[in-house]
Amino acid sequence: MTVPVAWYLVLAALLFAIGAFGALFRRNGITVFLSIELMLNAANLTLVAYSREIAELSARITGQMVVFFALAVAAAEAAVGLALFIAIFRQRETIDLNRLNLMRW
């Protein structure tokens, strides 16, 4: 049996919602980061799901190639983000986003 594309989309929406909630409301910077990764992957899932629906081979591969790019960028981003948080922690001894308000008026 084939899984209908709607299921994938629902899953992706859930994942995105969870990620968005985490990104907006968690205090811990790392957690926020993880939540953002979650949202990215929700988007990836959508792309992949739709690419399965397309008959033409070249177009199909295009969607999947985008996902690979997104994964690679996410990995690089995670590396940079972690490095940033380590640097911040060394300075402030915290990664609580509510206390990182240096740009306040």
Partner: protein
């Protein structure tokens, strides 16, 4: 080339001398003297050579030399010289007497600090005076007229370190200005009517249309009368007639050679010259001519009476000059123009001689001018005394000296014209003249010396450079009258050379001859005038000859009012001071107050107050309205930003939340709208 071609040098040389001494030459005495004497000294033979040629018929018609022409719009003024019988006489007098006085002044001014300045002014004066008498039109004459006035001012105030001379100079200048104004008005009237100021064309035009010239013009006068009156008012100033004579006695503050040259012999006669020059106008206006004669007679008598009671040797001579100028105007006024010019010429010689003699006396007494402190100087100053005596006899009118002939001709002219009152005044004045001149001679040269012993020991005869001009002038004072011997004296043989010489210039308008006198009447007049002169001398002898200076006090005791009036010169200076001078000062004070209160106070300061007021208002507007708006904008943005910056919390999650909310809102909006 004839001497006439070089005629312009007569005028140019003195000007060149003035320029050299005044502007360029170093103050080295020999050099200054050479230039100072050289200029008039070369001018004199040039003039005489030109006159000789002119007189010998090479140029029998009036000779004109046009240097250049000045086109002043419609009016064309040639800068030109005119040599005719009249200007010939004037040039002779000016150059001869002027040169002799220059020579004298070399001795008189020797050792004065302003030697060079003095001669620069003197040469300038000679140039201006020659310009005056030689100009062929009124404007050139007027330039000379003003030039001699300037030199007169400069030379009266020559001793500028003292207090009085500069004052006297200003007085002379200002009084003359009154006359010059009238002269200018007369000139304007002539130019506007005839379009020319050249003597020959102008007078020809007037003579060609006498009816037009005598038609009523202004102030109840005919045109000729109006112009003649204006010119005479100018002459009043220059020639010191009532009421403008007051500057001349004060002009004696200048050096004595100046008094001789400018204030006796030449400049002051310019008015007479001018009236005679314009005689056509006076012939056409008998009323004005009579006025001229009347003013002249009044001045002659008035000044002669003052001369009786003066104690300053130069003041006596100054009033004598005023009186003799009055005589000349009597002559010019009654139509005896030849007689006026005749007297002008003889007077130049004997009055210059009197002044130079007085200068010699003053020189000998180290500046003393008070005749009460003189006396007995005949033995000390023989040359001065001799020449002074000649001049005194000449001015007193004793034949055969110069003054007799010219004075007699004026009196005869007045008598012949039927002006018996003028003749009577002239005769009386002649007696007074003889009297005060004899008083002067007596008190200065005869009797005992009344000054200090020191002054007596110091007194000395003047150097040769001063006495030689005196002698030469004395020759002139004796002989100058012989060019105009009345025909009556020679029993009909016509020896009146001057009369024929001047005839073309003073020809009566209607043709014919001026009214003459029979020889019998002429003899009676001659005897009368000589008798009056002798009487004057005898009166002076009986008073001052016997009692010396004490006679003044005796007269004062007998006639206190008269003596005081005369000694104070009729208080005319005081009268002018109280009216004209104080009036002018009052007016000046009034104008000053107007200036200070109205112009400065109301207008200038008012403008200031107004400006300050407007500036204050504008300042308020700027401060509160303009700046207020600026500050309001500032305040608004400050306050607004204070409120708005609270959005900048620095919390990334809040920004993200707002972003998300915005996306949700927009998407929601999209959904709702579709």
């Amino acid at each position: 080339m004839s001497a006439l071609d070089l005629f312009w040098l007569v005028v140019a040389l003195p000007f060149a001398g003035a320029a050299l001494n005044g502007l360029f030459l170093p103050n080295r005495k020999s050099l200054v003297t050479a230039v100072a004497l050289g200029a008039p000294g070369l001018s004199l033979p040039t003039a005489l050579a030109a006159l000789w040629q002119y007189g010998h018929g090479i140029a029998p018609a009036p000779f004109e030399q046009i240097l250049w022409t000045w086109n002043a719009g419609e009016l064309v003024i040639p800068v030109a010289f005119l040599l005719d019988p009249l200007s010939a006489v004037m040039v002779t007098v000016v150059t001869v007497v002027g040169f002799l006085i220059h020579v004298y002044a070399v001795g008189y001014m020797a050792g004065h600090r302003g030697y060079q300045r003095f001669f620069a002014y003197m040469n300038l004066f000679m140039g201006a005076m020659l310009l005056l008498v030689l100009g062929n039109n009124f404007l050139v004459t007027f330039v000379g007229w003003e030039g001699v006035g300037l030199c007169s001012y400069l030379l009266i105030g020559f001793y500028y370190e003292e207090e009085f001379p500069p004052y006297a100079g200003r007085k002379a200048f200002i009084v003359n200005r009154v006359g010059d104004f009238a002269f200018l008005v007369g000139m304007f009237a002539l130019a506007s009517r005839y379009g020319t100021l050249e003597y020959r064309t102008l007078f020809a035009a007037v003579a060609a249309d006498p009816a037009g010239a005598v038609a009523p013009y202004l102030l109840g006068l005919s045109f000729a009368g109006f112009v003649a009156l204006c010119l005479f008012v100018g002459a009043m100033g220059k020639s010191a007639q009532i009421p403008l004579y007051v500057w001349l006695p004060d002009a004696m503050a200048g050096p004595t050679p100046v008094s001789a040259l400018i204030h006796a012999a030449t400049m002051v006669t310019a008015g007479v010259y001018m009236v005679v020059r314009a005689n056509v106008l006076y012939q056409l206006s008998p009323g004005v001519a009579l006025f001229v004669a009347g003013v002249g007679a009044a001045t002659a008598l008035f000044a002669a009476t003052i001369g009786l009671a003066q104690d300053d040797i130069k003041k006596v001579l100054a009033y004598s000059t005023v009186s003799q100028l009055g005589y000349m105007f009597v002559g010019a006024g009654v139509g005896a123009y030849t007689a006026a010019i005749f007297h002008l010429g003889t007077h130049a010689f004997f009055k210059a001689l009197l002044f130079l003699g007085a200068g010699s006396v003053i020189h000998a007494l180290s500046g003393e001018q008070d005749i009460r402190k003189m006396g007995g100087l005949a033995k000390v100053l023989p040359a001065t005394y001799g020449t002074f005596l000649v001049a005194t006899v000449a001015i007193a009118g004793i034949p055969p000296l110069a003054g007799f002939f010219s004075k007699d001709e004026i009196l005869a002219g007045a008598f012949a014209g039927g002006h018996y009152v003028l003749w009577g005044i002239g005769l009386l004045t002649a007696g007074l003249t003889a009297c005060y001149m004899w008083r002067l001679l007596t008190l200065v040269f005869w009797g005992e010396f009344r000054g200090t012993a020191e002054a007596r020991a110091h007194a000395h005869e003047s150097p040769r450079v001063m006495t030689v001009p005196l002698l030469l002038l004395a020759v002139g004072a004796v002989t100058a009258g012989w060019i105009g011997i009345p025909s009556g004296m020679t029993f009909g043989k016509d020896l009146n050379w001057l009369h024929h010489w001047l005839a073309p210039v003073v020809r009566p308008l209607g043709g014919g001859e001026a009214p003459g006198l029979s020889h019998g009447v002429e003899w009676v007049l001659i005897v009368a005038s000589v008798a009056v002169a002798v009487l004057g001398i005898l009166v002076a002898r009986s008073l001052w000859g016997r009692r010396g200076v004490a006679a003044d006090d005796a007269v004062a005791a007998r006639l206190p009012g008269v003596q005081r009036t005369l000694a104070n010169k009729y208080w005319v200076d005081e009268l002018y001071d109280a009216t004209v001078v104080r009036g002018t000062w009052g007016l000046a004070a009034l104008l000053h107050r107007f200036d200070a209160r109205i112009i400065d106070g109301l207008l200038v300061n008012g403008t200031r107050h107004l400006t300050v007021g407007i500036a204050l208002l504008s300042g308020f507007f700027d401060k509160y309205v303009v700046d207020g708006l600026v500050n309001l904008v500032g305040w608004l943005s400050q306050t607004g930003s204070r409120a708005l910056r609270r959005a900048q919390t620095g919390l990334v999650q809040q920004y993200a939340l707002v972003l998300a909310a915005g996306v949700v809102a927009l998407v929601g909006l999209y959904i709702v709208l579709h």
